[in-house]
């Protein structure tokens, strides 16, 4: 099968009934299913939002400045990813490798932030078993973190491949497919940051129950 060489240049029509590259289509299909996967967890979080009867509540523990920083790091990793793909397609091996490594490092920093946040929440008394906020929060952000971890490992292999010269303009599709996965992880975080952090940051006990609730 003919492989798509580059988006930025004239792409060949693939020798498939749709004219689309099968591997790339498979990744988009996976991402489509992942949209529904995350959609279900985000909906669950929102349904149970503000219904915890015991603390800690989001208003007591969410650290917006810290999460803003980690959000910025993940956003910049997406930029690094698209630059890496550009340079690999252009045949600039060193620059390509460097930017793929930047993706790995930025992804690892993001995971460092998440690890620190989970640890702090644990110290403050919030675990997945503490209340319904803890359950829905840890499941959603934990699954996202698992996605990021898989992406970091994948990018590590890509960096090694690029360093060894095995990743070239003619098979840059390998990196492009990995990149689609990485960017998807970023767009999921865009939604999580808005919904879980910014919108829920001031959530306390359920209205009218403040006096009945013990911490």
């Amino acid at each position: 099968m003919t492989q798509a060489v580059a988006i930025d240049h004239h792409e060949p029509i693939e020798n498939t009934s749709t004219g689309l590259n099968s591997r790339k289509l498979m990744m988009w299909a996976f991402l489509g299913s992942d949209v529904m996967f995350f959609g279900a967890f985000i909906a669950t979080y929102l349904v149970y939002r503000g219904k915890s009867l015991v603390g800690p509540y989001p208003s007591e523990i969410l650290d917006i400045p810290l999460t803003t920083l980690s959000t910025f790091v993940l956003l910049m990793s997406s930029l690094a990813m698209v630059l890496a793909l550009h340079y690999v397609k252009d045949g600039e091996r060193n620059k390509g490798t460097l930017w793929i490594l930047a993706v790995v490092v930025l992804g690892a920093i993001f995971m460092g932030f998440q690890f620190y946040e989970f640890r702090e929440f644990g110290h403050l008394g919030l675990t997945p078993r503490t209340n319904i906020f803890g359950t829905t929060f840890f499941i959603l952000t934990g699954i996202h973190g698992a996605h990021v971890t898989i992406g970091i490992i994948w990018m590590g292999f890509m960096a090694y491949s690029s360093h060894k010269g095995a990743l070239r303009p003619d098979n840059a599709l390998d990196l492009e497919i990995a990149g689609l996965y990485w960017h998807f992880v970023d767009i999921v975080w865009i939604v999580i940051f808005t919904v879980i952090y910014l919108i829920s940051a001031n959530d306390g006990p359920p209205p009218g129950m403040e006096s009945m609730i013990t911490h």
């Binding site: 004219g19 689309l20 910025f72």
Partner: protein
């Protein structure tokens, strides 16, 4: 206005949003700027590799910068604490802008074969429907709070 809309959304005569009929009209026009042709395309071409590609590093840095600014605006809206009922709609609009920025430019859907856009957009529609259905289902079921 209609002309500008055409420039923004169309893909060398084949509408970006049009479902392609054959593999042949899925081809990616090689000399088109990220947001259309004519003067706007020429301006954008400044940010590309002299017109030989859709977008170059400068353009990606620009998109990255815009996404960072939008993130800053989100946090600013959070810190403002005076937006009232506008707070959530503003945040959602900013999140959608970031989402589109990453999907269209970093994931290359704006430059890629339109079938991929259709594929992902239809997944999003189903995903949002599942999201809304779950919200209604669980809200109306008066799910007890366990702890």
């Amino acid at each position: 206005m209609a002309n500008l809309w055409q420039k923004l959304t169309h893909h060398k005569g084949n509408g970006w949003w049009n479902l392609p009929h054959t593999a042949s009209n899925e081809l990616n026009p090689p000399h088109e700027g990220p947001v259309g042709g004519a003067w706007l395309g020429n301006w954008w071409r400044f940010w590309t590799h002299g017109g030989v590609s859709h977008a170059g590093p400068k353009f990606y840095w620009l998109v990255g910068f815009i996404l960072a600014v939008i993130t800053a605006l989100e946090v600013w809206a959070f810190a403002l604490e005076g937006l009232g009922a506008w707070y959530i709609p503003i945040l959602l609009i900013l999140a959608v802008a970031k989402f589109i920025g990453v999907v269209a430019y970093f994931m290359h859907l704006r430059f890629d074969k339109p079938m991929f856009t259709w594929f992902f957009a239809s997944s999003m529609v189903v995903g949002v429907l599942i999201f809304v259905a779950l919200m209604f289902l669980m809200e109306n079921a008066h799910t007890p709070v366990l702890f």
